[in-house]
């Protein structure tokens, strides 16, 4: 799958500031169509209405976590192929393994920098 800067990107985080930070970083990287959701439930609703080229999600959110969102996305035939990057402060080994088993495409530990985000996005689309 090729990286297309025109594709819509969905940023999922319950912390508005983090959405704003990721949105600005994505704009710096050249992405223009950036949408956001405050938790997994809202993200899933949006994903059923629109086909996103990439989802960048936090893990710890209420009521639906990013981990639950990832599992639901992978279980849904029409959404299962959507590239999914987890961006989270959950940095225990079991979290990384659980996310990988659930089908995450990449995993970024907070705090992160623009270079890490760029590198992980590029890695997802070069696989």
């Amino acid at each position: 799958m090729a990286l297309d800067l025109q594709m819509p990107v969905l940023v999922v985080d319950d912390y508005k500031t983090m959405i704003r930070i990721i949105r600005n970083l994505l704009k710096q990287l050249g992405f223009e169509d950036i949408d956001d959701a405050a938790d997994g439930t809202e993200a899933l609703e949006k994903m059923k209405q629109r086909r996103y080229g990439l989802v960048i999600s936090d893990w710890n959110m209420e009521p639906m976590t990013g981990y639950e969102l990832l599992k639901q996305v992978r279980a849904d035939g029409s959404l299962s192929k959507t590239p999914f990057i987890m961006v989270t402060a959950e940095s225990k080994t079991e979290n990384v393994i659980a996310a990988k088993k659930a089908g995450v495409n990449n995993y970024i530990v907070k705090p992160f920098n623009a270079q890490t985000l760029k590198g992980k996005i590029e890695a997802v689309f070069s696989d």
């Binding site: 500031t17 704003r20 930070i21 600005n24 710096q28 893990w59 710890n60 976590t65 981990y67 639950e68 402060a89 959950e90 940095s91 225990k92 080994t93 079991e94 979290n95 990384v96 393994i97 659980a98 990988k100 088993k101 990449n106 995993y107 970024i108 530990v109 907070k110 992160f112 890490t116």
Partner: protein, 224 residues
């Protein structure tokens, strides 16, 4: 163990035998008489066990008095009405201050990013002004540091009082009943919610990258 004497048992049996053929015709005075016989028969028993009961009750009363003093020393009312709510207000203020500062800094950064750079002098003045705004916003750190110190002091106060209280309860090792898992704890366990780790406790980004690569190579082997 103390028991009724043979004489007292005999008195009760005599009374019951004298009245067994009355076909339910029992007066109040009969009942009172039986009660008198019964209480008289128990007198000896009560006399023997009273000192032991009194001693036990005195010990319990002493323990209750001690516990009341320990609870007073705990100053639970002070914690509940003053210290904990005050710590909550401090934390709310910290969240508000950091949020305000972050918004101010981000707004300044966004304005710099989108500023027109065609006039170098105007652009430089604009950026310098925004930099001052960012420096000013960073002063929040001093105040939040002081607020956090107050919260830490409250936590230490509670820790000292509760620890002293638990020590004075003289609970034997392992006496605590294992707490039942709450709904919130179950959610955290099932959804692997640990929250941010302290420095050195979690895995680094390079560890994550290595783990993902390793996991991927294990998966790839399945298709070889």
């Amino acid at each position: 163990m103390a028991a009724m004497s043979k004489d007292n048992v005999a008195r009760v049996i005599d009374f019951l035998q004298e009245n067994k053929n009355r076909g339910g015709d029992v007066s109040l005075s009969d009942v009172m008489h039986l009660a008198e016989v019964m209480s008289g028969s128990m007198h000896e028993v009560l006399t023997k066990i009273q000192p032991a009961v009194t001693e036990e009750l005195t010990a319990i009363a002493r323990e209750i008095t001690r516990m009341k003093q320990e609870i007073t020393d705990l100053r639970a009312d002070d914690m509940k009405t003053s210290r904990i709510p005050e710590a909550g207000r401090e934390l709310d203020a910290i969240v508000e201050a950091t949020e305000d500062a972050t918004n101010t800094i981000m707004e300044a950064a966004e304005e710099i990013m989108s500023a027109d750079a065609s006039d170098p002098q105007a652009y430089q003045d604009f950026v310098s002004g925004k930099m001052i705004t960012i420096f000013e916003a960073c002063t929040f750190q001093d105040i939040t540091g002081q607020r956090i110190s107050k919260v830490v002091s409250t936590l230490n106060f509670i820790d000292e009082r509760v620890s002293a209280f638990v020590d004075k309860l003289r609970l034997p090792e392992g006496a605590g009943i294992p707490a039942e898992e709450t709904e919130e704890e179950r959610r955290k366990r099932e959804l692997i919610l640990h929250g941010p780790q302290h420095a050195g406790e979690g895995v680094s980004q390079s560890d994550v990258d290595a783990m993902l690569a390793e996991a991927q190579s294990e998966i790839d082997k399945l298709f070889d």
